[in-house]
């Protein structure tokens, strides 16, 4: 039963107006006695699972096996935001202990491996030359700064205790490294800044090295970055730009950007997407994986090979497919091994990222499409509009009908005649209906319940007749560029956007537009901006 009084009150409360939320600092209930944040503040950033795993591989060798740790949590669309907010549970601490212990066991399995890691293998607990070298060299990369002498002594005492008890200095060193990597100084990026004449806090060069490595590589700094920090070269925007430019030419940048794309487009949801295989027998895990690969290849090719306009992906006429995906899309493509670039024919209207299986399938229901979900995806993820959840006590299944001969469009139009629903659904459904010529698993189709599909609509005043035209309207939308920048910024900063970020975002959006809307350039502008180099102190 729909309770109209409550609904009207709720709609008023939610402010369902559909304007772009740039910035959107609304945290309705931050907690008892906690005021909503107005200024970005310095904080600890827990390593995301990717950063943790990559760091262990960098520190201990690519062959170490890293067991599962507490999974990332998504806040405001990104794992990095939650990692800067949440505390690790006791079970999570135990998982770290197990993962790091297992990794050190592999890394210390033979004397040769120890020598490969440190350039020496300690012959006794008195072999301070080797032990200090091992601890300070690995410690500098693990802590993303040089160790203090107190820290060196702390870990040397571990070596002494355990090396003596086990009569094996190597075992002592292994446990000391285990301790170092279990320490919050490794598990959290400690970027607290130092007082600056501007009155704000300025991140130190070492902290900037940490921020750059986490943002651009999803790992810790390499030696070159730490050397630059030691020379204080990262205290200037120019120094940061130079390192960022170097880093973006490295393969680690491609992997990190793919991780950002996974967060942005919520491909974890794709992995758990259920389809009714009696209706869609082609759906299986390899098809799902191919859709994911298609998405990543498109972005990687555009950003790192072509270095082109990121928004051109929104209505691109080419994509990457393997044989299975080509057949699924009905594309005529010569059989070949692996993925290759193909042109998309005009006939189906399949264009750009929105025409890809990853986004179409993960934003649909198991037995049918969902224009509401697809429209919400475009509104929230590509245009940064704020779409509230359904008000309480509202039955949300009005769009469902078992009647043959009724298209989803006509059901949704009925839905939007209900004033309780129209406010928010108007933000979503007309967009999603533009994608109705693709079924729940992204196969092109012409009819719904025996009726020809009308894929026309209007996006904020711009009319479209098909999915292809919708894709272009999304690319041309004034929110598209600023929204992309906002998403990059949110992930890089590891926090939700605040009012105080408005000027920085406007500046970055303007340079994004002026520089051919290149994602790599946007990243360089972002990490070298004052907003990324300065911060406010946290309340004590």
């Amino acid at each position: 039963m729909v309770r109209f009084g409550l609904v009207i009150a709720a709609l008023t409360l939610f402010g369902c107006e559909g304007s772009i939320a740039l910035p959107a600092p609304v945290i309705a209930h931050p907690g008892p006695g906690i005021e909503p944040l107005q200024q970005p503040v310095a904080r600890l950033h827990l390593l995301t699972t990717a950063q943790f795993t990559n760091s262990l591989h960098d520190l201990l060798g690519a062959d170490v096996v890293v067991s599962e740790v507490e999974p990332d949590v998504d806040q405001d669309g990104f794992a990095s935001v939650a990692a800067s907010q949440l505390a690790i549970s006791p079970a999570g601490v135990e998982a770290y202990e197990k993962a790091i212990g297992g990794a050190t066991e592999v890394a210390f399995a033979t004397d040769a491996k120890i020598v490969a890691l440190f350039g020496c293998s300690p012959i006794s607990v008195s072999d301070l030359g080797c032990l200090r070298k091992a601890l300070t060299t690995l410690g500098r990369r693990a802590y993303r700064r040089p160790l203090t002498e107190a820290e060196v002594q702390r870990f040397l005492s571990v070596v002494t205790d355990i090396g003596t008890e086990s009569s094996d200095a190597r075992e002592g060193l292994r446990y000391a490294i285990w301790a170092m990597l279990e320490s919050p100084s490794f598990l959290y990026r400690t970027e607290l800044g130092e007082p600056d004449p501007t009155g704000r806090l300025k991140y130190t060069s070492a902290e900037m090295a940490s921020r750059l490595a986490a943002t651009l590589w999803a790992t810790g700094p390499d030696v070159l970055l730490l050397d630059a920090a030691d020379k204080d070269e990262l205290s200037t925007a120019a120094g940061v730009r130079a390192q960022a430019t170097r880093m973006l030419a490295d393969a680690r940048a491609r992997a990190a950007f793919a991780g950002w794309v996974d967060d942005l487009y919520n491909t974890e949801h794709l992995a758990s997407t259920i389809k009714d295989t009696t209706l869609y027998p082609s759906w299986n895990s390899s098809l799902r994986d191919a859709m994911h690969e298609e998405l990543i290849l498109r972005v990687d090719d555009l950003v790192f090979s072509r270095r082109g306009d990121f928004l051109s992906l929104y209505d691109a006429r080419t994509t990457f497919v393997n044989d299975q995906l080509a057949a699924h899309y009905g594309l005529v493509s010569p059989s070949a091994t692996g993925f290759r670039e193909v042109s998309l024919p005009d006939a189906t209207g399949r264009r750009g990222l929105l025409g890809g299986g990853a986004l179409l399938s993960s934003n649909a229901l198991p037995q049918r499409t969902s224009p509401t979900q697809r429209g919400r995806f475009v509104a929230e993820i590509m245009l940064c509009k704020s779409v509230p959840p359904p008000p309480p006590q509202v039955i949300t299944n009005i769009e469902t009908s078992a009647d043959a001969g009724v298209t989803l469009r006509s059901q949704l139009e009925l839905h939007r005649q209900n004033p309780a629903c129209s406010g928010c659904h108007t933000l979503m459904d007309p967009i999603g209906l533009g994608l109705e010529r693709f079924d729940s698993v992204a196969v092109a189709r012409e009819s719904d319940h025996g009726h020809p599909i009308d894929a026309s609509g209007v996006l904020d005043g711009a009319a479209f007749q098909s999915a292809a035209e919708l894709a272009t309207r999304v690319r041309e939308h004034p929110n598209a560029g600023p929204c992309f920048v906002k998403k990059l910024y949110t992930a890089a900063q590891g926090r939700s956007v605040l009012e105080a970020d408005t000027e920085a975002l406007n500046t970055l959006s303007a340079s994004f537009a002026a520089n051919g809307r290149r994602a790599d350039q946007a990243l360089i502008d972002l990490v070298s901006s004052d907003a990324f180099r300065y911060v406010e102190p946290q309340a004590r």
Binding site: D72, D74, V93, D276, P392, T396, T400
Partner: protein, 440 residues
């Protein structure tokens, strides 16, 4: 030096099966005077119910009332069951699948990101009796698919920004618990070493802590609580274990399905592991996320279509029509209660120091909404199972008059020794429980 370090300062209760011979003459406490602990669990399922098919028709005790259609699978444990109907979740439904579960678990509104403002009931109870190998409890989950937000995959929170995510892997939980099963091995030297390096971690963290603001200090302190608990556990592990064997899910349930999937076999595996943990006194608190708030997982194991239970059945969006979806949803709720029964019956059949494990436990069962179809907040699903060591009557159906849901967890908190004079915050705050549930 390391030798002997573990024995010093050890305050943890060593894992032991409960035996009547350990009691004082009255059978009400251990011979050393310690009060018999009551075990607590939160058993959470997503997507709510159909109130008309959940609520028993009559109120009363014993033969006065009969189980409803949805609760029928709980027949074997009816004498231990308390049904509380007619209660209202008073927390405003700002974010349907976040506000109401936060209200039922913490008594307070959720934050926008799905986080909470107050600790959940299990963590309040865990602090009453922390001297076990897992002081913050064990947290397991069956279905790892949600449509609401990642934090909605949790039903245990130590406070704001401090979730206890569930472990979806029976083999992972087994690997933790099997260390406490009976064995004859010599003391593993790595236990001493692992405890030693955690001392170094603590020292390192202390130096870092002085540089942090208030929020980060709180986060770091939570991390160090985990370090302390791990050290406490290493102490327990170094002691002889006489808890018997714990069932290996790989052996007993080889075809149980992937982690995160709803199957009877996975549920049974978890039930056996949790019963072992409580019976052996490895922990006195657990949470079990049968399915998350707004669970989008499939209930194919219940005989339903391989679709999202939340959308296709809970919100009746199946293209096969709302009548089919309604019956399917009810079938899913009944299936869920049958899985709950598997845990409760195992507890009923597990001897404890006096009576059975179910006699000495309080299990709080609730969901993320009341009526699934409209995110309802009245007639909220609330059950208690177990006698809480004699505190609860059991076999009772109490019906409220839109009274606050918070009164139920508050009743449990008080029954288990909590001294708080209220539970919850703002609209969800209460100062009274449900006295009709308590034994006179």
């Amino acid at each position: 030096m390391l030798r002997g370090v573990l024995a010093a300062g050890a305050t943890v209760a060593l894992p032991l099966p409960r035996l009547a011979g350990m009691l004082d003459g009255n059978g009400l406490a251990y011979a050393d005077g310690q009060k018999l602990p009551v075990r607590f669990g939160t058993w959470f399922f997503g997507n709510g119910i159909i109130p008309s098919r959940w609520n028993p028709k009559n109120v009363g005790v014993g033969a006065d009332w009969a189980l409803s259609e949805a609760l029928a699978p709980l027949l074997a444990v009816k004498p231990w069951l308390s049904v509380i109907s007619g209660m209202q979740n008073k927390v405003p439904g700002l974010y349907a699948h976040k506000s109401y579960p936060a209200g039922a678990l913490t008594g307070a509104q959720a934050m926008a990101a799905g986080d909470v403002q107050l600790p959940s009931i299990d963590q309040l109870i865990a602090k009453l009796n922390p001297a076990t190998a897992f002081p913050s409890g064990l947290h397991a989950g069956l279905c790892n698919t949600t449509g609401a937000g990642a934090l909605d995959l949790c039903c245990s929170f130590n406070g704001p920004n401090q979730p206890n995510p569930p472990d979806y892997s029976p083999t992972s939980l087994f690997s933790k618990l099997t260390q406490f099963s009976t064995n004859t091995r010599a003391t593993d030297p790595s236990l001493l070493r692992r405890k030693r390096i955690l001392d170094a971690v603590n020292e390192d963290a202390k130096a870092l802590r002085t540089r942090l603001g208030a929020e980060d200090k709180s986060r770091l302190d939570r991390h160090l609580t985990g370090v302390d608990e791990l050290q406490q556990r290493l102490v327990s592990l170094a002691a002889p274990h006489v808890c018997g064997d714990v069932t290996d899910p790989k052996v007993a349930y080889p075809d149980r399905g992937d982690d995160g999937v709803i199957t009877k076999a996975r549920n049974q595996a978890f039930a056996e592991l949790l019963v072992f943990a409580m019976s052996c006194d490895v922990t006195r608190v657990f949470t079990y996320l049968f399915s998350s708030a707004a669970c989008h997982g499939s209930y194919a194991d219940a005989g339903l279509d391989n679709v999202t239970f939340h959308e296709d059945y809970g919100h009746r969006k199946s293209p096969r029509g709302s009548e089919m979806a309604t019956e399917g949803f009810q079938q899913g709720v009944t299936y869920t209660m049958a899985r709950l029964a598997e845990l409760l019956e195992r507890m009923k059949n597990t001897p404890d120091v006096t009576g059975t494990l179910l006699d000495n436990s309080a299990i709080y069962i609730t969901s993320c909404v009341a009526d699934s179809i409209n995110h309802g907040n009245t007639d909220f699903p609330l059950l208690l199972a177990g006698k809480a060591g004699g505190a609860f009557k059991g076999d009772v159906h109490v019906r409220g008059n839109d009274d606050s849901v918070s009164r139920v967890p508050f009743t449990v908190l008080k029954a288990l020794g909590g001294t708080a004079t209220s539970f919850g915050l703002d609209e969800g705050r209460v100062e009274t429980g449900v006295p009709e549930l308590l034994k006179a």
